[in-house]
Amino acid sequence: MTARSALRLRRITAREPARSSRLAVQRGALLAVLLPFVAIVTLFQLVPFLWSLYLSVHRWAGVGTPRWVGLGNFTRIVQDATIQAAFANTVLFILIMVPTLTALSLALALLLNHALLPLRGILRVLVFLPYITPAIVAAIIFSIVFNERFGHMNAMLQLVGLSPVAWLKTQTGARIVVALTGIWQVLGYTTLITLGGLQTLPHELYEAATIDGADAWQRFWAITLPLLSPTLAVVSVIALLFVLNLFLPYFLFPATNGYGPERGTVTVSVVQYVYAFTNRRYGEAAAVGCLVGIVGFLIALLQIRVWRLSRGWSI
């Protein structure tokens, strides 16, 4: 109740910018708070970031003085087949995983929020477990589960009369395994956020709708989805950040540095790591990083804009 009235109040005051400018006296306290913030951000975020910007316009093998090449790294990376594949795969994983994660989070959250669902508490923990499992362990488990000859997945397929699939050796199979493992890892987290969002939805609206004769399906479309959309926007941004940092293939396909069959699973995160730390091509890796950072930022802004426009929601 209180949360809801606070929300309403906030919306009103947001239109009165004058109310929030009354800080003249407390310069000392302000500085005491802002100084550590500015210092830490500058030293550990901005300086390393500027360093990577610097590297992105230089060639550097990790020894000696970096050599200035202007935009040479950027023209090189757009021609590099592996980096092209990394961008293409990442886009593919974004297109597959972000909507899937958002939809599955919603579905799972609705279920886990169902008062009559047995073992709710245990299920919530279970769903969250993968999020705290280290990527390398997840990779080992899934490479066993999806093994062509003795994996559980093919055993199940054969049980229902289907022929086994070479999951880890074909491009499509490898991508499916990466997407499934990634979804398995992060779904618990996004589901919890959705679940939290669900629990703030006002009961009265549902009650009123029920009295008006709306069935569950109508209530979902008319109340749940619109009111939950800000939460879903956050979920989709989190999913996007997760995919942009998807490093799993490195552990799933160690023999090819995470590239996978026919470079089918190499991601921008993997290629940055491998180019910098295996190939000693720090300049190109930094250039990829800059591109990813900018593109990711723009996509996130766009995502938020779209939700905001459609829902009248302000950040």
């Binding site: 050599r67 592996t82 066993i144 003795f150 074909t170 023999a255 540095n257 590239y259 730390f277 295996t278």
Partner: protein, 453 residues
């Protein structure tokens, strides 16, 4: 003979220590150490006697992966020099850690590191690695020449490490399973004959040689052997100044790789995966290319019933009279320039790969030091469970001497591996001709070559 070596070395080592304390004495000791051990033995005690009183002390750090061969050498070293502190940092991503430290100018780097051949060339001569020419120069004739060359940085004309693993390779095969197929693997044969054998194996439904989907590191490793066997210098000349990946030898190597996969005998699996061991244990994979150091892994992963049934043969020849082997892996032990204990670091390096106890400890793990006195001595008495009664050690030594000295792994070999790992596959699959494919790889390498000078 070997006992005498050991005695001589120990005294020299102590002489070294004294030298680190008194620089004048150091100079004389080094001169002493510069002569081959056989001649040194009578003279060393005179110089060494005062040094014996001083126990070797100091601290050395090393970064490596858990279960590293240098752990065994550490234990052996400490037995002899209990007053030394050896701080071994074992972590999975030790290489990333090391590279980052090197990229930061050597800040926080360990004293000792187990460095890949191409990285010796990258870091050597740039003030990042300790110049150990004074250690190597006097004993350089005691190493397999091809491995010694990996510790040598041409552009600086100095040595920056002591050769580690011999890393020769050959064919591991099962004569008992091949005989019924009418296939014999000879110690001296040409690849044409070998290809015919692979076809027989494929026709019988068995597998030989790995080729995982996409090629990857396996394809790059095979290509590297073949190019050395064809007499090429690899991806580039030894000083890295000229790209040679698409020369005649490079193209021939790619063609050979394509022909091997085309026999249909190759197994689509990666190294050391459960299904790889299963293919060996279930007698599906009856022949494979493998490095000498791989033997230890085989012995710990094959069923007991499989041990003793395997034999090792040299690789076939690519050209008449050419080498029947190639290197795979084989790091060099280096010290970093920022080490606080350069003399102790050199002592350890010498103990590790140029002394009997050090070499024996290394061999315990499964690698083969490339120090000839060891290879000719103790090593020859070793028996290997995997190879039954075959005198494999004799073959490894013979192959070590055959290793190509024209083949090199300059700094650009590191990024080249990645490119080969992805770009050989189209050639193997027949989508591009070896000439076109290698030319494209060459152009890529020429583009990045200036960065690795």
């Amino acid at each position: 003979m070997s006992g005498q070596d050991r005695e001589g070395l120990r005294i020299t080592r102590r002489a070294f220590l004294a030298g680190s304390l008194v620089s004048l004495l150091l100079a004389s000791c080094r001169r002493e150490a510069a002569t081959p051990p056989q001649q040194a033995t009578p003279t060393v005690p005179a110089v060494g006697t005062p040094a014996v009183q001083v126990p070797l002390t100091g601290t050395l750090t090393f970064w490596g992966h858990p279960d590293h061969p240098l752990e065994r050498i550490r234990d052996a070293f400490l037995q002899e020099y209990p007053n030394v502190t050896l701080n071994w940092v074992l972590t999975n991503d030790y290489y990333t850690k090391f590279q980052t430290a090197m990229a930061a100018g050597g800040e926080g780097a360990p004293d000792l590191f187990w460095l890949e051949a191409s990285d010796v060339q990258l870091y050597g001569g740039r003030g990042l690695l300790l110049d150990v020419t004074d250690l190597i120069e006097p004993i350089k004739d005691q190493f397999i020449p091809a491995k010694l060359a990996e510790a040598y940085v041409p552009k600086a004309s100095r040595y920056y490490g002591i050769p580690g693993d011999l890393s020769v390779s050959g064919i591991y095969y099962r004569p008992d399973l091949l005989e019924p197929l009418g296939v014999t693997i000879k110690d001296d044969m040409m690849y044409e004959e070998f290809l015919a054998a692979l076809r027989e194996i494929a026709a019988a439904g068995k597998k030989a040689v790995l080729y995982p989907a996409g090629g990857g590191g396996v394809a790059a490793a095979y290509w590297s052997w073949f190019v050395a066997q064809y007499g090429g210098s690899g991806v580039a000349t030894c000083d890295g100044s000229e790209i040679t990946v698409d020369d005649e030898a490079g193209i021939a190597a790619a063609r050979l790789l394509r022909d091997i996969v085309a026999t249909g005998a190759t197994l689509n699996a990666d190294f050391w995966t459960p299904e790889y061991w299963d293919a060996l244990n279930s007698e599906l994979l009856v022949l494979d290319f493998a490095a000498a150091w791989a033997r230890g892994f085989w012995e710990s992963n094959l069923d007991a019933s499989q041990l003793g049934k395997w034999r090792v043969a040299p690789l076939p020849r690519a050209v008449p009279g050419g080498p029947r082997t190639g290197v795979w892996g084989g790091a060099t032990l280096v010290a970093t320039a920022k080490t606080q204990n350069p003399e102790l670091a050199k002592q350890f390096m010498k103990f590790a790969f140029a002394s009997e106890p050090g070499c024996q400890a290394a061999a315990d793990w499964g690698i083969i030091p490339s120090w000839i006195p060891y290879l000719e001595g103790f090593f020859q008495q070793l028996k290997f469970k995997l190879f039954g009664d075959q005198p494999a050690a004799k073959l490894w030594l013979e192959l070590g001497r055959e290793l190509s000295t024209t083949y090199c792994r300059p700094a650009i070999y590191t990024p080249a591996l990645d490119i080969l790992g992805t770009d050989l596959d189209p050639i193997v699959q027949g989508r591009v001709t070896p000439e076109e494919g290698m030319k494209a790889i060459g152009d890529k390498l020429r583009d990045i070559a200036p960065d690795y000078q």
